[in-house]
Amino acid sequence: MAKHHISMTLNGEPTEFLCSTRQTLLDVLRDELNLTGSKEGCASGDCGACSVMVDDRLVCSCLVLGAECDGKTVESIEGMADGENLHPLQQKFLEEAALQCGICTPGVLVAAKALLEKNNNPTETEVRYWLAGNLCRCTGYDKIVRAVMSTAADMRGDAK
């Protein structure tokens, strides 16, 4: 069967690719576009390691077909930093050691950024429920939740 010719905007750049019907957006990012920052932990939407934004909506890219993305705007972890400047969440995760092995980190960061864009002053409970779809087996989530909340405080400009 002929492949689909898809045009989308990826991390701000116009991007074209060919994909088969069965390829997910995650497959396309990793195997066709060589962007391996989004991870496959389960391929069933349970772990969140493949989290990306499609048209400003947080999704598991393993549950979206590549062929669905024609004309869409996709943002992945590779587009999160601005040139050589890390996003405040990325910087805070480093400073507060909010990662151990780092496999869940790209998905957690993409999801956390989506949260802060909707809600710049989340409670601990809101952060925990928002990130409930991003599994981390190393950290126990403590430092992740703290880093997200302290980034939010910084971005609001709260006095320390």
Binding site: L86, A97, C101
Partner: protein, 759 residues
């Protein structure tokens, strides 16, 4: 932070990890992120049966499929003898290993590999799997450890001869171990109360988020390169060499970044298959497990069935403990029965102890290490029964632990006499912690429990190269699973007397550094750290020699202080100190490159102790348990990078909470795993947990230059009993089996209500 800590410039500070930027930007290459040109894709055919004779395998149609480049079965692997061979610290039975990576006479569990295919695409490989015809004769199976020990149970290995016990005829008991101290009969005679209970824990998976992945490439002259996510590239090399009959020197294994392991990536599954498929096809082969394959065919740790009996005086002094731990091993022997026995009551000074353990095979995947293997299982029993004794005697559960606490000079029931240890300190801190004193509401309860883990040393090699600009590269061979590069760099910076950001640590492949045992046993910051410190000292010795040469004095007359060579005294001469960077800059004129090395089998690991406090709220309508507050107090020796030490403690506690409340394997009547995914095998998510307060206690290990003990494993030992004790405190119901999931707890609460109504 203690004042003692401030004597160090770098050790004990919270620096940004060297691999951090790669990991927050998506650059870091994990197992399945690696590709090479010309690569083809391998897939594994797995048994749908829990126990079946493999009468024949016909691969001809699969081989004929367009795009298929190689098909392998157990016939492609030479058989191995059943003797134990040394591999690092452990002893390996390669007869079992070759049967685990590819079923030979029988398939022994649902998910057991029976064949593998490499094809130009993963889709073609999957299609080829469906063309392989396996003729199975399905046999009765056994999943439960107690069932497997009964007469008439289906036998996995007819020829297996148990070790440590004589049993007439075939058995599933692979091994029996026992440990004793004093005289338990005398101890029970002295006791005012005696309690005996049975406990059961479920097998649980390590649950790393990154599935196993490998790329293997074998050239026509037999040289193999393997890139994989592993806790031990040298183990992968040794195993593949033995299983495929290749010289060790012809295999080069490069560890990728590793997306969690917790012990589960100290073994091989895909690596020998990919290497053989590459050899057969002449092309690089990539293999990645699906999540379902991870659950059906890798890990987990043992489930256990235990009995514990304890005797104590009215004042709370424990006079005797007897215990028995029956641990399921999966399809091949290797349950951590020994460590389970040895760790159970190691936090306590008890004069009369007898504990035994059984390693029992069942039709499940072969167990792999998981964070303090064995200890959390037996501690669930021991720490639950100590809680019962405290309640029975009306003594505070922390006070009874303090009264019986092991100290320096205590002989542990498993043999050694403890040197300086910090167990009692963890109990003291718990007793005074505001968490322990905080009020509780309705349906809420508080539990405490303690834990012990040995920690290990083992073989480590390291090189510290001084660069011409005064920076340094630290080369080790220990995969960094949670921030160890940061701690190695901190210790190197401290020893060399240069800034942390001038030290670049890397994890080398098997051809670029001397042998290193796995990242496991909480050994890396301790043992590899020690090798790095010694390698840095070797570089310092060379730097002092260069200064001596420049000053034309004896090398002994030069000392190293704060990154500079200085005359040992004014008698040596009036020389301006020479900095590391100035010595590095003129190294070519003073004798050439400056490279420090160290390689040793590190001894002197300091044991770790922890005490946890857990508050829960139980919903009496549903049996759901919410963990409200959690505090984990641990003696870490010295926290080299406190943030990552806290992270280990928090992560271990979280895994223990999952083990306590939710995680279990659900097998159907055919012995097939019904929950091989994260939706149904429920590891804790962010909304399941509270903050986990990690309290660091520092009682330095005198066998390490910076006082390091291992950190990573002991935090998973106390949680199951801490949660169970909290549930008992909240409800009056004692849960003796894990997981304490809503349906199980609800049933226990209902039963208690019925019992109460009847009385």
């Amino acid at each position: 932070m203690s004042s003692e800590n401030r004597k160090y410039k770098w050790v004990g500070t919270r620096q940004i990890r060297p691999d951090g930027h790669d990991k927050v930007t998506g650059r870091a290459k994990f197992g399945s992120d690696f590709s090479v040109s010309g690569m083809i894709h391998g897939r594994v055919l797995r048994s749908p049966h829990a126990h079946a004779v493999i009468k024949s395998i016909d691969t001809s149609e699969a081989e004929a499929l367009n795009g298929v480049k190689a098909v392998i079965t157990s016939k492609d692997f030479k058989d191995q003898s059943s003797e134990l061979k040394a591999a690092g610290e452990g002893m390996i039975n390669y007869r079992d290993m070759t049967r685990n990576i590819m079923a030979r006479e029988k398939a022994l569990y649902d998910g057991h590999a029976v064949a593998a295919v490499a094809a130009t695409t993963a889709e073609i490989a999957d299609a080829a799997l469906e063309l392989i015809k396996v003729d199975y004769e399905v046999l009765p199976h056994v999943i439960d450890v107690d069932e497997a020990m009964k007469d008439g149970a289906p036998i996995l290995h007819e020829e297996m001869v148990p070790s440590g016990i004589e049993i007439g005829g075939p058995t599933n008991i692979a091994k029996f171990v026992e440990f004793s101290l004093g005289d338990t009969k005398k101890g029970f005679d002295e006791a005012d109360i005696i309690i005996e209970r049975s406990y059961k824990t479920e097998a649980v998976h390590q649950g790393y988020i990154e599935p196993h992945a490998v790329v293997a490439s074998v050239t026509e002259d037999g040289q193999a390169q393997i890139w994989c996510c592993t806790q031990g590239q040298f183990q992968v090399r040794a195993f593949v060499a033995q299983l495929l009959g290749m010289p060790t020197s012809s295999i080069r294994v490069t560890p990728s970044e590793i997306g969690g392991g917790f012990g589960g990536k100290t073994v091989v599954y895909l690596e020998p298959l990919a290497t053989l498929l590459s050899k057969k096809s002449g092309k690089p082969v990539k293999m990645t497990m699906t999540r379902e394959e991870v659950f059906r065919a890798s890990g987990p740790t043992s489930g256990g069935s235990m009995t514990y009996k304890i005797g104590a005086k009215k004042d709370g002094k424990i006079t005797a403990v007897e215990g028995s731990n029956k641990l399921l091993a999966g399809a091949f022997s290797g349950a951590p029965a020994g460590p389970a026995c040895m760790c159970a009551v190691a936090p306590y000074d008890i004069k009369n102890v007898y504990i035994n353990g059984y390693d029992v095979v069942v039709n499940r995947p072969k167990v792999a290490a998981y964070r303090a293997p064995g200890a959390p299982i037996s501690a669930f029993g021991a720490e639950s029964i100590i809680d019962e004794v405290a309640k029975e005697l009306g003594i505070d559960p922390l006070k009874i632990r303090k009264l019986n606490a092991a100290k320096k000079g205590t002989q542990a029931a498993y043999g050694p006499t403890f040197r300086e240890i910090g167990y009692e300190e963890t109990v003291d801190i718990a007793m005074g912690h505001d968490h322990y004193l905080a009020p509780l509401g309705p349906n809420q309860g508080r539990g405490v429990a303690s834990g012990f883990w040995f920690n290990i040393g083992g073989e480590s090699s390291a090189t510290v190269n001084i660069n011409e600009d005064g920076t340094a590269v630290v080369i080790s061979g220990s995969p960094d699973i949670g921030g160890s590069r940061a701690s190695l760099a901190l210790m190197a910076a401290e020893t060399l007397g240069i800034d942390y950001d001038k030290v670049r640590p890397i994890v080398a492949d098997t051809a670029s550094v001397g042998y290193n045992f796995v990242t496991g046993g909480s050994r890396v910051t301790f043992a590899t750290g020690l090798a790095v410190v010694e390698a840095a000292k070797d570089a310092v010795r060379q730097l002092c020699e260069r200064a001596a040469k420049i000053w034309e004095v004896d090398a002994e007359a030069v000392i190293w202080d704060d990154g500079h060579a200085k005359p040992a005294s004014s008698n040596v001469g009036d020389f301006e100190p020479l900095s590391l960077s100035s010595l590095a800059g003129q190294a070519n004129k003073t004798g050439g490159p400056i490279c420090g090395h160290n390689a040793q089998n590190v001894q002197g690991a300091g044991p770790a102790f922890a005490t946890h406090i857990c508050d829960v709220e139980v919903d009496p309508e549903t049996g759901n348990v919410t963990v409200l507050r959690y505090t984990a107090i641990q003696d870490v020796g010295r926290a080299i990078h406190p943030s990552y030490v806290e992270g280990q403690i928090q992560g271990g506690a979280a895994q223990g909470i999952g083990w306590a409340l939710n995680e279990e394997y659900i097998y159907n009547s055919k012995g097939q795993l019904d929950n091989p995914g994260f939706l149904d095998y429920r590891i804790p998510v962010a909304s399941d947990l509270p903050m986990i307060d990690a309290v660091i206690v520092e009682v330095p290990n005198d066998r390490h230059p910076y006082g390091v003990r291992g950190v990573g494993e002991v935090p998973i030992v106390p949680p199951m009993a801490a949660v169970a004790n909290a549930i008992e405190n909240a409800t009056g119901v004692r849960m003796s089996a894990l997981p304490m999931s809503p349906p199980r707890l609800l049933a226990a609460l209902d039963q208690a209500d019925v019992k109460e109504a009847a009385e």
